[in-house]
């Protein structure tokens, strides 16, 4: 009673703080804080999304016509380019004339886009500022680029991370479930006591190995293996991650599934055998349906382990935040992203908030999976199998 209450309150608090930190992202400006993006007064383009900004500054977009403006080549200007346009004398001894110079440079170049700190914004600035606007939920949830250090506007599109997580986890479950079920059935139904006495502690030992060790194992064994077998330039792929995750999820799946299979009453098993059913028919038609809810629990716990696992995945998946098109590409999962980037994200900053929001997403994904599994198990009550 009390412990249940404490647990619920703790979970609620975790969720509350996660969301409170994360939701601040949508109130933050899209352009890096303290900076402005300015264009020539004549330019008709008023609004640029973070993705467009990044493409412009990466020179992927070279002409304003691509952005709905006039046919004018884009000239990118960063603050340290200033000496190409003006002499040191013009900047002044203590660089006190930078604002005036900036204003002048922008006025002279119709195709220019400039990115500089807002402290250098002169009161009579001759250029036009690109609209300051906040990061939208659409950019966060549907954005297909995750580039938190991009300038002038960091990109927080979570699609590559979510797809990466799902790819790796689903593949891991696809590997782990058949194997885990097979071992569970073998241990619960077929093995004799001697084999079981050896197997059970070994499997439990597997559950106790720290995930860094799994990651290390993956790095030295599985990654090179995958690289060789598939002839890839790098072996650090989603496949490597899912194989490691499958191994890590196995003990949970085996233990929970085996327990539920063992809990099938002996009388029901005997009833089936007494009717002339073979052992295999009994397992397939009576034992497994009877233990379906336990098996569901095993699946959920296994997926939970796989989705939330951080370290091992971080070490073997290659960590490139690109939407994966197959298991043989490097991916980056949500937990790995949080772990890798939280250290370099300034406390309270946009990046920091984005990582917290990622945590929320992870929470929602696992919640959805458990609810689905719960409903699947409930939709098939034992009585009606």
């Amino acid at each position: 009673m009390v412990s249940g209450g404490v647990t619920s309150v703790t979970i609620l608090l975790i969720v509350f703080f996660l969301f409170r930190e994360g939701i601040g992202l949508f109130g933050s400006p899209a352009v890096e804080q303290g900076y402005v993006v300015a264009v020539n007064q004549e330019n008709t383009v008023r609004d640029l999304s973070p993705v467009q900004l990044k493409d412009v500054f990466d020179s992927k977009i070279a002409n304003w016509s691509q952005l709905g403006g006039a046919d004018e080549p884009i000239v990118v200007f960063r603050l340290n380019d200033i000496e190409q346009y003006v002499s040191y004398e013009e900047l002044g001894d203590e660089l006190q004339f930078i604002p005036q110079c900036l204003s002048k440079i922008i006025a002279e170049h119709p195709g220019m886009i400039a990115f500089f700190p807002d402290t250098y914004l002169s009161p009579d600035f001759a250029g036009k500022l690109i609209d300051r606007r906040n990061i939208t939920p659409g950019e966060f949830f549907l954005g297909d680029e995750w580039f938190p250090t991009a300038t002038p506007a960091p990109l927080f599109g979570i699609v590559p991370l979510v797809t990466g997580t799902l790819w790796v986890s689903l593949a891991a479950i696809l590997f782990a479930l058949p194997l885990g079920m097979a071992v569970a059935i073998y241990m619960a139904e077929l093995s004799n006591d001697k084999v079981r006495k050896i197997l059970k502690p070994v499997i439990e030992l597997l559950a106790g190995i720290p995930s860094v060790v799994y990651g290390f194992f993956g790095l030295v064994v599985i990654v090179p293996l995958i690289q060789r077998v598939f002839g890839l330039p790098v072996g650090e792929t989603a496949l490597a991650g899912s194989v490691i995750l499958a191994i890590m999820a196995l003990p949970t799946i085996i233990t929970v599934a085996e327990d539920s299979i063992r809990n099938v009453p002996r009388s029901v098993r005997e009833a089936s055998l007494a009717l002339g059913a073979t052992q295999w028919q009994t397992i397939r038609r009576v034992v497994l349906p009877y233990s379906v809810s336990g098996i569901m629990a095993a699946v959920v716990l296994g997926i939970g382990r796989a989705i939330g696992e951080t370290m091992a995945v971080l070490m073997v998946t290659g960590n490139s935040a690109i939407i994966p098109h197959g298991l043989l590409e490097p991916v980056r999962t949500i937990p790995a992203t949080i772990a890798a980037e939280l250290g370099e994200a300034p406390n309270g900053g946009v990046h920091y908030e984005a990582l917290f929001l990622l945590g929320c997403i992870l929470f929602v994904i696992t919640l959805l999976i458990s609810i689905t599994a719960e409903m699947m198990a409930a939709g098939k009550p034992k009585q009606q199998i």
């Binding site: 004799n192 006591d193 009453p265 009388s267 029901v268 005997e270 009833a271 089936s272 055998l273 007494a274 009717l275 002339g276 059913a277 073979t278 028919q281 038609r285 009576v286 349906p289 009877y290 034992k382 009585q383 009606q384 199998i385």
Partner: protein
């Protein structure tokens, strides 16, 4: 043929690990009779019953000596298909143990695991079996309902029907009425009486009156030994052994 021996145990010894559970049991049972096994708890009567369809195979460390012949065939001989044997020797357990399926599927199960796919055949066999177990009238409108919705007595008759569906020649019953109320018990007893015409029935019971009412012959087990085996009338009215007399009259056990 009348008075044909269908089950024959010859010098059966049985161990659970080190525990010598049955000592040198020999007895013959005739077709279309009801044989009751009586005796105090732990005397080995259930163990012996479960030897007849090799249910004790599931127990680790079980060991058998001697021979058990069913319809003339040694069921513990090498190469005997256990699942085939169990189709011929059906079993009803102490507690009703329906599958977590519908009433219909419970009965159909035995046919399905035997590879029967013909729907019409399964349906007619289900009806036949439920009629045979005197349950048809009560469940014919709710065959699609879960078996767990039936009462305990109905569940037990469902289990009997389930055993009948595969058409065994022998039906083993391990205290089939011990978990039931008196009305359900009397229904099961009537059923046993009717089933006798088609099946050979072996029943383990703790209830002396029940043994006296339903069986043709009675075997009294004590501490793993077969003390006395004779016509039920004789066992109850005029037993040869003092132990039997004492047990039946309730002086020990």
């Amino acid at each position: 043929m009348e008075n044909q021996t269908i089950i024959s145990a010859q010098g059966v010894n049985f161990w659970y690990g080190d525990y010598h559970a049955l000592r040198d049991i020999s007895l013959d049972m005739e077709a279309h009779t009801v044989t009751a096994f009586i005796g105090p708890s732990g005397c080995g009567k259930s163990t012996f019953l479960r030897l007849l369809n090799r249910m004790n195979d599931l127990v680790d460390g079980a060991r058998l000596e001697g021979r058990i012949l069913i319809e003339g065939e040694d069921i513990y001989a090498r190469g005997v298909m256990v699942d085939e044997l169990r189709k011929r020797v059906g079993m009803v357990f102490q507690k009703p143990n329906p599958f977590p399926k519908t009433i219909f599927e419970n009965i159909a199960y035995g046919l399905r695991v035997n590879g029967v796919r013909d729907k019409a055949f399964i349906e007619s066999r289900v009806e036949e079996s439920l009629k045979g177990a005197a349950l048809w009238g009560e469940v014919k409108d709710k065959l699609k309902k879960p078996a767990f919705e039936l009462s305990g007595g109905q569940q037990q008759r469902l289990c009997i029907a389930r055993a009948l569906a595969v058409q065994p020649s022998i039906l083993l019953m391990d205290e089939p009425a011990s978990a039931l109320d008196p009305i359900s018990t009397s229904k099961i007893e009537e059923l046993i009486y009717e089933l006798k015409t088609e099946y050979t029935i072996v029943i383990v019971t703790h209830n002396m009156q029940q043994a006296a009412r339903v069986s043709d012959r009675t075997a009294f087990f004590y501490l793993g030994e077969l003390i006395e085996y004779d016509e039920t009338k004789k066992i109850f009215l005029n037993p040869e052994k003092a132990q039997t007399q004492n047990y039946i009259t309730g002086r020990f056990g």
